[in-house]
């Protein structure tokens, strides 16, 4: 499910579209997550690892939906 599939998103989208130019693109938002530890990081490597995991997830999403090679759509 996409964040932009949420019924509340649709309600807000209708409000936005009333003020958009006709050429305005329709935008979708994928918002996902994964659990990470919330206890203190004592090691910079742990912080970087959490960030890189997020980057890897974003890259995987872009490839899976065919956008990794379409930066003009992202």
């Amino acid at each position: 499910m996409l964040l932009s599939d949420d019924p509340a998103w649709w309600q807000r989208s209708q409000q936005r579209r009333a003020h958009c130019p006709p050429t305005s693109p329709w935008v979708a938002v994928a918002e996902r997550g994964f659990p990470v530890r919330l206890s203190p990081f004592h090691d910079a490597a742990e912080q970087v690892a959490a960030w890189e995991r997020s980057q890897a997830a974003c890259s995987a999403y872009l490839r899976a939906v065919g956008l990794a090679g379409r930066p003009d759509w992202v």
Binding site: R17, S54, A64, A68
Partner: protein, 264 residues
């Protein structure tokens, strides 16, 4: 238009803002986070892990450089066209701030350590040359920065005015900073190919300190787009001033002998 790195309430959260074409939507709805995905094409995330004040020079009396200034400098230096850019956003690591370390009271936040440009391929080592050529002069008194691929504009939208309403369940207002950014992008009519990236960041540990950032190439109808965005905000009971982040980074008050003092 950009993967979002980290978010203080849940450091593993990420988002991608992109065009909603039927083919993409079908694939996106079925893709599960963590599921296997093709290994190609590669996505290059170029980290420029320097603080903004080292990449962008500001003298005493001038506003302290922002992470957006650093992004604009990096985009201009690397000549990255927005149509070839998957994302432009802060390099921000999850950290825990100790409110009371003895009592074990920590809060999650993010620490901005630089900027990232994501492209379909690794652009190849420009970051070392960028660091060597820094600091750059990025104008602070003009909204648009001219780069080799055209004008660059960084828009930062303050979340505080909407945070309480969203938290109370008001479904009319954007539910997060990134959704406020989507409202800006759509009402402005910014095409994905004219946008380097959308990001959000929460300095500190209060949701009200969060803001969204859109880095885009302004077109000739930029002023008209801002009027449309203002009308959209009016429909929410807000004004452009309510979402104006201002400059919480403060002003450089002293700079000499390698020492820099910023007052906020």
């Amino acid at each position: 238009m950009a993967p979002r790195g980290v978010w203080a309430d849940l450091p593993g959260r990420w988002a991608v803002v992109h065009a909603a074409t039927p083919a993409v939507l079908d694939a996106a709805r079925t893709h599960l986070a963590g599921a296997s995905a093709p290994t190609d094409p590669k996505v290059g995330h170029t980290f420029l892990s320097d603080h903004g004040d080292r990449l962008v020079r500001r003298e005493a009396g001038e506003p302290a450089p922002t992470q957006g200034d650093a992004l604009a400098a990096a985009i201009a230096f690397a000549s990255v066209d927005p149509g070839s850019c998957l994302g432009a956003y802060p390099y921000a690591l999850p950290v825990q701030l100790a409110l009371n370390a003895v009592a074990g009271r920590f809060v999650s936040t993010v620490q901005c350590l630089g900027v990232v440009l994501s492209t379909p391929h690794a652009p190849g080592g420009w970051q070392d040359a960028c660091r060597a050529a820094s600091p750059f002069r990025v104008p602070y008194d003009a909204p648009v920065i001219m780069g080799p691929t055209g004008p660059i504009r960084v828009e930062r939208l303050r979340w505080a005015a909407l945070a309480a309403r969203a938290a109370s369940g008001d479904r009319s207002v954007p539910a997060s900073p990134v959704q406020l950014a989507v409202g800006f992008v759509e009402t402005m009519g910014i095409l994905p190919g004219d946008c380097w990236g959308v990001a959000e960041l929460q300095p500190g540990h209060e949701a009200s300190s969060a803001y969204a950032q859109v880095v885009y190439r302004p077109g000739p109808d930029d002023a008209a787009g801002r009027e449309r965005f203002a009308r959209y905000l009016t429909s929410l009971g807000l004004t452009p001033g309510d979402v104006d982040l201002g400059h919480p980074e403060g002003t450089v008050t002293f700079r000499r002998w390698g020492v820099r003092v910023v007052e906020r």
